[in-house]
Each structure stands twice: as C-alpha cells, then as structure tokens.
C-alpha cells in the first residue's frame, strides 16, 4: 500500500510551467475584461450610455423572437422528426421533403421568401376560401368565419409574426434531424420491451423513447437555441426592430459606429453566454445513471 501511494504522489516539479498556463481559461479572462470595459463605458461614457438605452428595446424583442421561434421550431421539429422515423409512407415522405428542402436553402433567403412570398400567397388563398364560402356555403355559423377570411389583409400580419414563423420553419428542419438522431440512438430493445407490455407505438414513444431521447439531445438542442438567437439578427432585413436592426438605426442616428457595434456585440454575447450556462445547468439536472 505504502509503495503505491509513493508512486501515485503528484510530482509538481516535473510538470512544465507552460502546461499549467494552458489550463488557465485565457479566453474567458479576455472576454471578462472586454465585458468589464464595456460595462464601465456604459456607466461613464454618454455615447455608450445613449447606445445602450437605445438598443435595450431590441434585446427584449430579440429574446421574444428567439424564444417563440425556438418553441415553435421544437414542436415542428418533433412532429417532423417523428415522421422521419415513421413507417407511414406519406408522413415519412412529407417530413423528409420538408427537412431536405428547408435545409438546402439559406436561412436569409427563406426568411425573405416567407415574409414576402409565402405570407401574401397564404393570405390570397384564405381570402379566396372566404369568398368561396360566402358564395356557396353562407349558412348560419359559417358566415362569421367566412367574412373574417375574406377580409383578411396583408397589413394585418405583423412583420414580427412573419419573422418568427420563418425562423421557426427554418429551424424546425434542423430540430427534426436532432430529434430523429435522438430517437434512433435509443436501443431497439426499449421499443420492443414497451410494445411487448401491450403499449401502443404512440404510448411507447411518449413514455419510453422520447423521455430518454430528449435527455440525449439536450446538448445539440441548446446549441441550436444559441445558434438561433444569433440567427435572429437576420430578421433585421425584414425591418423588425430587434437588436441588430436597432444597431443599424443607432449608427445612422449618431454616426458612432464603433460604440454602437461594440455594444451590440456585447449584448449578444451576454445573452448567448447566459444561455450556455442555462443549458449546462439543465443537462446536469436531467442526467441519470445509464
């Protein structure tokens, strides 16, 4: 016993001092320093202060857009992901087409397409439906909704809503693949055991497969949430007043490029870093002994 202890004793002198330096999270230190500097400026410099108060409304909208798009994309992704592992041919095909098409088009293009092509088209269709209902099916309880559909106006659909829908539609495809991977990573025996107890496919998914799969896909989902928060800056092209758009406006208003984009970048970083902390916390809470 004594001998082994002697051997296992750490020998600090033999470790080169550079190796110790490598363990220090220098990047974290640099980020912290930059953060402290910017916070300091926000308190001291009127230019930064002005930019900060102008931009803070954008932070609120960025968070709102990210949260609601991500929540929607999770639902879409789960539905499509279940389709990707389904044996039902139409369901599988539809999900696959969705994933392949959306994954293959740049998000920026899809956002513009969603806002300026898909939404007007959908509205036209709804208007047509309402008019057709009024002409052919104008009976009792149907008149109200028919009138509503016929009189829907493109101005009634807020750009923020279109942006949220567009982002959710894009990320749903990625989430679908994440869910599919998670579901397929669960051993086949789990489904067999659940089915052998008389559970339906749906019950087995709901109580056995998904709870395990979701734990496994938490890291990629958290990753995607952070990516989506950053990609929400793309909706500035739709003139939604989120952080990046307000950044552009602030620069145009004050001609203070340096201070504006410093603050914008800093605010994004604050959001993404707190998110990764949150994800880490959730992973730890949901872990279980396998």
């Amino acid at each position: 016993m004594a001998i082994t202890r002697e051997i296992e004793k750490p020998q600090p002198k033999l470790i080169p001092w550079t190796a110790k330096l490598a363990e220090v999270p220098w990047w974290g230190l640099i980020i912290l320093l930059m953060g402290v500097l910017i916070v300091y400026f926000i308190f001291v410099s009127p230019t930064y202060q002005d930019a900060f108060y102008f931009l803070i409304a954008g932070v609120r909208l960025t968070i709102l857009v990210s949260l609601s798009s991500f929540a929607t994309s999770l639902v879409l992704g789960l539905v499509a992901g279940l389709g990707r592992v389904s044996k039902n041919v139409p369901y599988y095909t539809l999900s696959s087409v969705y994933v392949e098409v959306v994954r293959g088009i740049p998000i920026l293009v899809l956002l513009i397409y969603f806002a300026y092509v898909a939404t007007p088209l959908a509205l036209q269709f709804l208007n047509w439906l309402g008019t057709a209902m009024l002409q052919n099916l104008a009976i009792g309880p149907l008149v109200g909704p028919a009138n509503f559909l016929a009189n829907l106006n493109i101005q009634g659909v807020d750009m923020t809503v279109r942006a949220i829908a567009g982002l959710a539609f894009c990320y749903g495809a990625f989430e679908a693949e994440v869910f599919r991977a998670g579901i397929q990573s669960i051993e086949k025996g789990q489904m067999e055991a659940a089915r052998s107890l008389g559970m339906s496919y749906f019950q087995a998914m709901r109580y056995i497969i998904l709870p395990q799969a979701i734990r496994r896909v938490l890291p990629p989902l958290g990753n995607d949430f952070i990516a989506m928060l950053k990609d929400s800056s793309l909706i500035s092209v739709l003139a939604v007043r989120e952080l990046t758009h307000l950044g552009k406006l602030n620069r145009a208003r004050t001609f203070r490029t340096f201070e504006t984009w410093n603050t914008v970048a800093f605010l994004y970083l604050i959001m993404t870093l707190s998110l990764s902390l949150l994800v880490k916390f959730m992973e730890r809470r949901m872990a279980f002994e396998e």
Binding site: E187, G189, Q190, E192, A193, A194, R195, S196, L197, G198, M199, S200, Q203, Y207, I208, P211, Q212, R215, F288, E289, E290
Partner: protein
C-alpha cells in the same frame, strides 16, 4: 400473412398454436415450416444452436417479428391476422429479454407500474401495490426506488420478470433470460422462473440452461436451421434422442 377470417379458429386446450410458420431475413431462412402447440400451463423449452431460429420463433409469438407466412393463434386470437389489435394480445403475453431492456429513466417501481397504468388502466395505488408485491416475490423489495443502472444483472432480470408479471399475463416468453448474466446470478433468476413454472404459468423458454429444462420443462423442442428437428419430454430427449443432430448437440452441451 395467409390466414383469413373465414377459417375456423381451433379452440381447445392449446393456448399457443403455430402452423406452418415461415420467416426469412433476406436470403437467410430463419424459420422453415415450423408447427408447434403449447398447452395451458405447459412449460415449453426451446433449445438449439445459435442462429437456429429459436429467438425468431419466440418473437413471432407476440409479433415482434412478422412471419412471412403461416398462422399463429394465441389464446384463440389469430396474431398473424392483419386486423388483430396486436396490443391486446401482447398485454396477455409477458416477455423477458436477454438484455433485460428495463427503462433506465424510470425507477424499478415505475418500471413495473407504467404498463399497468397505461395499458391496464389501473389506478396508481393499485399498480403500486401490485408492483411491490411482485418485487417481494422476486426477492428485491428494497430496490423499489432504485434506478436500473444501480442494479446487478440478476436483479435487473428479476425486475424485468416482475414487470412482465404485473400485467397478469396468461403466457410468459423468456428469450435467453440468463445468457447475459454472470454465473453466480443465473441461479437467482432460474429460481424465480422455477417458482413460476410450479405455479402453473404457461411458459415458452428459449435457453441453454439444460438444468432448468430437467427441473421444470414439460416438453423440449430442438430447433436447428429454422426447423424443429425433434421434440419430446426432457426424459426422452436426454436419455435417448431419436435424431442424430440432437444427439450431437446434446453431447456437446452436456457434461
């Protein structure tokens, strides 16, 4: 699936009726014209070399594998018929797997209560009562709140047996229940199975445990190359097997 509704279903003492079953995986013929009947309360022991079709046959009984042709009737219900609600059959047929397949995200107690609540629609209190009684019976009541990851292999398999029994099945299927266990844990699982057999449970056991066959089996079935080579009582097969292949196999597994 060749059977149709118009054919009369044999209703007699045989709780499992398998007729002319064929199943292939690509070019491999897993089952070739297998017919087998299991009586109520019988312990049917299926053995044979690996890849002989034992597990496939067992998995066909509760339709985890879909046979290419042939007919299976479990307790009067044609399993192989397209319109049969297979979930109803499976609730009556418990299955124990080689690799346990416990649900790792649920406690032992929840493993045993989940299907009772969701399939049998029992209230939670009743399901819990049944679960604790069964855990007592398989000898691990103290592990009710543990997670499967904290159990030994033998304990896991006993929980799996309790989980299957909780549904009050009419038939229990065992798919090599001791093959993944350390030698010292095999006995605790076999003891539970022996108890079950003595209580009159209908059991179909795929296994290499010849000792269990001697102690508990009413009938042994030797399966090789997807065909039933020979069947008979343990007495007959151990003392004087008729087929050369059976002799050869038994001489290799028995000391």
């Amino acid at each position: 699936m060749k059977s149709s509704v118009s054919e009369p279903l044999p209703m007699d003492d045989d709780i499992i009726i398998i007729e002319h079953l064929y199943k292939g995986f690509g070019k491999v013929k897993a089952l070739v014209d297998v017919s087998l009947r299991v009586k109520r309360g019988e312990v049917c022991f299926i053995f044979g070399p690996s890849g002989g079709g034992k597990s496939t046959l067992l998995r066909c009984i509760n339709h985890l594998e879909t046979p290419d042709s042939g007919r299976i009737i479990v307790d009067g219900i044609p399993v192989t018929h397209a319109k049969t609600n297979i979930d109803l059959v499976r609730a009556e047929v418990g299955m124990v797997f080689q690799l346990f397949n416990l649900f790792p995200h649920l406690t032992v107690r929840e493993n045993v209560t989940l299907a009772q609540q969701k399939v049998r629609k029992r209230p939670k209190e009743e399901a819990t009562r049944v679960a604790l009684a069964l855990l007592e019976r398989v000898g691990i009541p103290e592990k009710a709140d543990a997670y499967p990851g904290q159990l030994s292999g033998g304990q896991k398999q006993r929980v799996a047996i309790a989980r299957a029994l909780a549904m009050n099945p009419k038939i229990m299927l065992f798919d090599e229940p001791t093959s993944a266990l350390d030698a010292e844990m095999i006995k605790e699982v076999l003891d539970v199975m022996l108890d079950l057999a003595q209580e009159g449970m209908t059991m179909v056991v795929v296994s290499h445990e010849m000792g269990f066959a001697k102690a508990a089996a009413d009938r042994m079935v030797f399966l090789d190359g997807g065909r039933i080579i020979e069947e008979g009582t343990p007495e007959e097969l151990f003392k004087n097997p008729k087929e050369e292949r059976t002799k050869q196999f038994l001489s290799q597994v028995l000391y």
